[in-house]
Symmetry: C2
Subunit: 316 residues, 2 copies
Amino acid sequence: MNGTMVWPATAAICEVGLRDGLQNEKKLLSVEEKLELLDSIVASGVKIIEIGSFVHPKAVPQMADTGELAKRMKRAEGVEYRVLVPNLKGLERAYDAGLTKAKLTVSVSESHCRANFNQTPLQMMEGFGPCVEFAAKNGMVISGALSSAWGCAWEGKIPTAQIEKITRAFLDLGITELSLSDATGMASPRHIYEMGSHLKKAFPEVSWVLHLHNTRGMALACAVAALQVGITTFDGAFAGFGGCNFIPGAAGNVSTEDLIHMLHEMDIDTGVDLAKAMETGRLAQRILGRAGGSYVLQAGRNCDLVAQKAQAQQNK
Amino acid sequence: MNGTMVWPATAAICEVGLRDGLQNEKKLLSVEEKLELLDSIVASGVKIIEIGSFVHPKAVPQMADTGELAKRMKRAEGVEYRVLVPNLKGLERAYDAGLTKAKLTVSVSESHCRANFNQTPLQMMEGFGPCVEFAAKNGMVISGALSSAWGCAWEGKIPTAQIEKITRAFLDLGITELSLSDATGMASPRHIYEMGSHLKKAFPEVSWVLHLHNTRGMALACAVAALQVGITTFDGAFAGFGGCNFIPGAAGNVSTEDLIHMLHEMDIDTGVDLAKAMETGRLAQRILGRAGGSYVLQAGRNCDLVAQKAQAQQNK
């Protein structure tokens, strides 16, 4: 019995390096450094950028200047500048900074929510209603994120019924763009394929985004499985920065460059100039003073190897 | 349009760390260290082990003691101990060391063969005839490897017709177990799926093995694509050691532990005890004095994270 794989013509990349890639970095970047990274991301052709979050500055000091960043950045035509917000207060700060797109996030894991917030996921989502009202009044667009969707340190695999419950709660709020987040890197390609197939059928009105971490090396394999169910929008972080709160030293978000390289090698257009995306990754590595987890930044693209060999032959 | 992914019940792992993982390491291991690794591999349940190669000792000093290793190793019931040989001389040395399985390798790339050996692949394969005769006379089994099958530093993508030509030449010699090797890590999942589908149909008599490197992070994604065409035998190297001759510092072979972890997470049985395979990987890292490229050795298995969290809750 053989499978039948499909290859969409295009896929979309959301660069989340400025938020998820940086949020746990000890070295605090200046707004100027973030602006330089942002310029570089825009120059590469990425059209969706998560520039930061409006969470408590003491909880995540790296994100404290998201408002200033938003106010000072140039806004390129056709680019979506998104922030993550946990609640109405965060959303109001996003609005004050002139932003029009915000992502509300909730962990689908009952145990995770209880342990961290002493609430159930649905209780936490009660606060999302006023956010949606505020957004509607002020011309903002809200998307949602289901964190721990692919596994949880407390619960392991999350039952499908639980994912459905949280999805329905988002839909009841009128939020139809939903990110399935795997910050602990527990998703396997089969899980992505099976859960993804089910969710695509059960909720045809949802625009799904996949947020993968490469904690156990499976992120690109999961992306390939997602393509098979028609999920074609992927978060990535420059140079593969980011990490997992629970696993010190673990690999971070899937590297934007590796993701684009693989998609392009499969003739799937992302609209991004990979060479320029690699410049963003190198810039991030210079600013942070260390290598991230990007293979392509380390080894070069397939075409680079062939070009180098041709050059070496010519020089003989 | 959606894909249909399939998940075989089982997959086979060939541990090639002792050969491909070590061959370019500067630190020369003692035979005792290799025996310790070999014992550990066998203890984990791996049934196919490439223990070394019989190439010129000056070309690959790390492999110079393969004969001694073969003579001194304990032979476990049901385990295949394989070596790589380039020619009849190597095969004779393998026979003298008491081995019964050898792999003959040729690059499918005309340019690569010309540049390194001033011969075409088919000219190189002329030397395989006497090897097959020798093997038949002496009760040895020969398998083949098509190196650069997924891309070549000189030529980039290798045309299907070229892969077919070399495959037919192997079949003409009576060699039906063939490894498709990607030492430069240029394979993409789509390429694996499309070429793999074609080859499986065109040569139903062949037992295919996939030899992946994680140079550009795509190895596990390629393995998933291979499963879809019914290729279920994979080389891996402990801790992801190994590399690419042309790319200093690049990632090595796909890590055996990462491969097994992913397969098990997808309910595909390998017959290997992952915890024990991880011990092999850690042993290799201790012997070589550095980390390899294994994610699972770095971050732990999915189940480890859940167990750690449960333990932490209990200790509260």
